[in-house]
Amino acid sequence: MSTSDKASTEAPHDSEDSASAEASAEASAEAAAGAQLSTAPLEDAPGGPVGIGVFGWARWFWRQLTSMRVALILLFLLSLASIPGSLIPQNQVDLMKVAAWKKEHASWVGVAEKLQLFDVYSSVWFSAIYLLLFISLIGCILPRSWQFVGQLRGRPPAAPRRLDRMPAYTTWRTDTSPDEVLSYAGTLLGGRRFRTEGGPGSVSAEKGYLREAGNLVFHVALIVMLIAFAWGQYFKSEGGKLVLRGKGFSNTLTQYDDFKSGALFDSDDLPPFSFTLDKFDATFERTGPQKGTPREFKAYVTFTNGAHGTPQKREIQVNEPLEVDGSKVYLLGHGYAPVISVTDPTGKVIFKDAVPMLPQDGNLTSTGAVKVTDGYKDKDGKATQLGFAAMFVPTFAGAGEGTMFSQFPELDFPALALNAWHGSLGVDSGLPQNVYQLDTSKMEQFKTEDGKPLAKRMLPGESMELPGGQGTVKFEGIERWATFSITQQPGSGLALGGAAAAIAGLAGSLFIQRRRIWVRAAAGKDGVTVVEMAGLGRSESAKLPEELAALSGALHAQAPTAGPGPAPVPGPLAEAPSAEAPPAEAPPANERAEVEGERA
């Protein structure tokens, strides 16, 4: 598009600038009329540094960084820089996927790691972009706020000499005296919440300062949100816990199965509360093509706040966490835990427990390990450990196929298959142990008489004899478990407040239009008063002429057109057909939300 002419609608906002600009007196009067209509900085030409030495460079660098052009570039870079994180799996999001990706693209791993592509959002380059952007933002907001305060204290500028050069203009002749017209105009504009200023033979008025305020609030809110985000990152904590039905959890570090926290988190910050899982309900689609998909999960808990609180009944659902003291307890997953008892050769029950199994698919085919670490002595009285590799299905299928899988996630036809081992479970080796897996490297499998490994599929209540009278394993029944995630994310209130302020500010900035109206009334040669009105906005909004029409209509009602006389000729009128229909009715003249048109 062609170049835009600043003098017309977007004047230099500094009167010194416009004075120094070599322009005709008229142009500079027009420029003054549009001066300080916003606090947006002017684009400075991309020249080199002025002055010499480090200071000159620093100043130049700062100027560049806080210019709108660089802000725009940084903003664009930010959007591009966030993209790789959605295409390459992120450590922060899913470690398993990262591992899978690394396996698949082995030759790229080195490069990707160097470029921090698995940690895009905490990488040096991503941080550099947003930190620069926020420095730029602060460097931009401070002077703009200052300028805005000045504008709030200032008065609307005097009417330019030629009102007919303004984007919207109207004129008529009236018998009412100029002073009366101006006094009517002052009252009219003041009544519509314009800030008015009387001048010699004219009235200036301005409205819509909230636009600027909104814009500043929006940009400040962005900073608030960034701070809230950083705060959350440093002080957050997140832990997971598997709880069996009937069992409880209390919020101390040692109780967690896994725990992650921000760099500045202190474990004393964990609020003291506890809960017991009384009941867990899960329902699934029984029919149709989506058979087996979950419909509802609900955990019923008895919850106690503080060390000595009174227990209360609560429910936790997928979208409805339990909130305590800045912590939230989320329901994450669920599964089954077969209850298994083990009897030693003497007939003594040495183990009886519900053992959680890890779901492998949507129908809850689950696997796990039963580990009997102590208390077992074999027939010869030698202490040893027992291990059982287990597979559990809530609704058994696969009979006769040599495999076993689940057909439906509810307990329609539960079955448990076990493999039995003895020896050392390796739990004392100091290496971290996966509770769901059996490390059989130092174990031996029980064999049947014909030398085959011992394995048995059982229904609830059934048991399996260990060969040679070494004991019995019984499938006693089934328990349920649910996993919970307990998180603390400080700063989320601040982030929410920032977000709300950002939206409010944005709405103000985009829907409110800052504009000026001038009214001039002077006695013509024939003694009849000529009234002129003009409007100027920061943009060519269609609303400005409409507003001027409404205002002039109201003023005209008080100062009607003088009787017969030559019709006033407004400015340099050329007749060009307008494809737009004339506005059918006057818009409501009070402050209205409106979308701004383009600027200058």
Binding site: A7, Y169, G288, P289, Q290, P294, V531, M533, G597
Partner: protein, 361 residues
């Protein structure tokens, strides 16, 4: 314990039929629009408009044209007239006469097309509503539902703009064509039987977040359509201004569109108006994520692309506020931003898996 209602088969069936019916009606609207354009191409008015365009652009730059806005109606005849004057230096070209080119027959077909579009809209809206009733939940649980709602909202916004007497009829053909494509894709590839939601989607935030997301998308779509047409019309005007002579077909089509300046402004207003709502959509999503997953922002692919889209639109608004990046560059930014939105909708759902569980088609 509340067991979710099973899908009501007959309502679901009705919904499908309504969607097919709306597609049939949109096809008729498409044909009516084509007829409108054909009649319009024979119009004298259009040719005059073209001549005018040429002369205006020839001299335009130095003496900006002035439009006279009367305050219509006899009762107010004696009220003062408001004269507007566009910014000096902008290419001052009047808007084209519209697809009908001022011909009576063309206009008649145009009106028929709009009426058919309105009918198609009602049918499609019925389809969306019966779909919702059949499952007793918000009809935005999967991509099929998302697509039919998207198309319906886009047409609804267009009709609302028409009802508000905005000059948007030029959008008709483009919109109806793409809406037909969208519905075609939805019914052929994305179709999913009516059913209940997985628990993660059970939340009133679904209503808030997803409905505003679809609405914003549909409005952004109209803004993007404006930007595309702006780019075409702008090159056409630039060619004329540079003394070139565009081809007859291109002239015939382009001269009937509004001026580049009007299209540009239209696109800007649409995008700017919906940007705060898009901001709200993302924040609502973050609140929901906070409830469902325990973190309000986790850089899930869907979240990443919402963020990219948001930043891209912020970039576009910034570009408009600074001197050097108006016009075509800003329009490219707007299209980039909309491309991000579309990618977030199709690409991310189909190609990148994340926590957003309806990601399954």
């Amino acid at each position: 314990m509340q067991l979710a209602a099973a899908a009501n088969e007959s309502l679901a069936h009705l919904s499908n039929n309504l969607i097919y019916a709306s597609m049939a009606v949109y096809t008729l609207a498409f044909l009516a629009h084509i007829t409108e354009w054909i009649f319009g191409s024979r119009s004298k008015v259009a040719r005059t408009a073209a001549a005018l365009t040429r002369s205006e652009t020839g001299t335009g730059a130095e003496t900006p044209a002035v439009q006279v806005r009367g305050k219509g109606g006899t009762a107010v005849l004696d009220k003062p007239e408001v004269v507007t004057r566009s910014a000096a230096g902008t290419r001052d070209v009047p808007d084209g006469p519209g697809a009908a080119g001022g011909t009576v027959q063309g206009d008649l077909y145009g009106r028929i097309a709009v009426s058919l579009t309105a009918l198609g809209f009602l049918l499609a809206a019925g389809g969306v509503i019966t779909r919702a009733l059949s499952v007793e939940r918000a009809p935005w649980g999967n991509m099929y539902e998302f697509s039919i709602t998207f198309a319906t909202v886009a047409v609804g916004v267009y009709l609302a703009l028409l009802a508000l007497k905005k000059n948007v009829r030029w959008l008709g053909l483009f919109l109806v064509t793409t809406v037909l494509l969208d519905l075609g894709v939805a019914t052929t590839w994305l179709y999913t039987d009516s059913d209940q939601l997985v628990p993660a989607l059970h939340s009133y935030w679904l209503w808030i977040h997803v409905s505003t997301a679809i609405f914003c998308g549909a409005v952004f779509y109209i803004g993007a359509a404006g930007a595309v047409l702006y780019l075409f019309r702008d090159s056409y005007e630039a060619k004329l201004a540079g003394g070139g002579k565009p081809g007859t077909f291109s002239t015939s089509v382009m001269e009937r569109f509004p001026s580049a300046a009007s299209l540009d402004k239209f696109s800007y207003r649409i995008n700017a108006a919906v940007f705060p709502l898009w901001t709200f959509t993302i924040i609502a999503g973050a609140i929901w994520a906070g409830d469902a997953w325990g973190r309000y922002w986790g850089w899930d692919p869907k979240e990443v692309w919402s963020f990219v889209t948001w930043v891209a639109y912020a970039c576009y608004l910034h570009a408009r506020a600074t001197a050097g990046w108006k016009g075509r560059k800003a329009a490219y930014l707007a299209l980039f931003a909309f491309a991000c939105w579309i990618w977030n909708y199709y690409g991310v759902n189909i190609l990148l898996s994340g926590k957003h569980s309806y990601a399954g088609v």
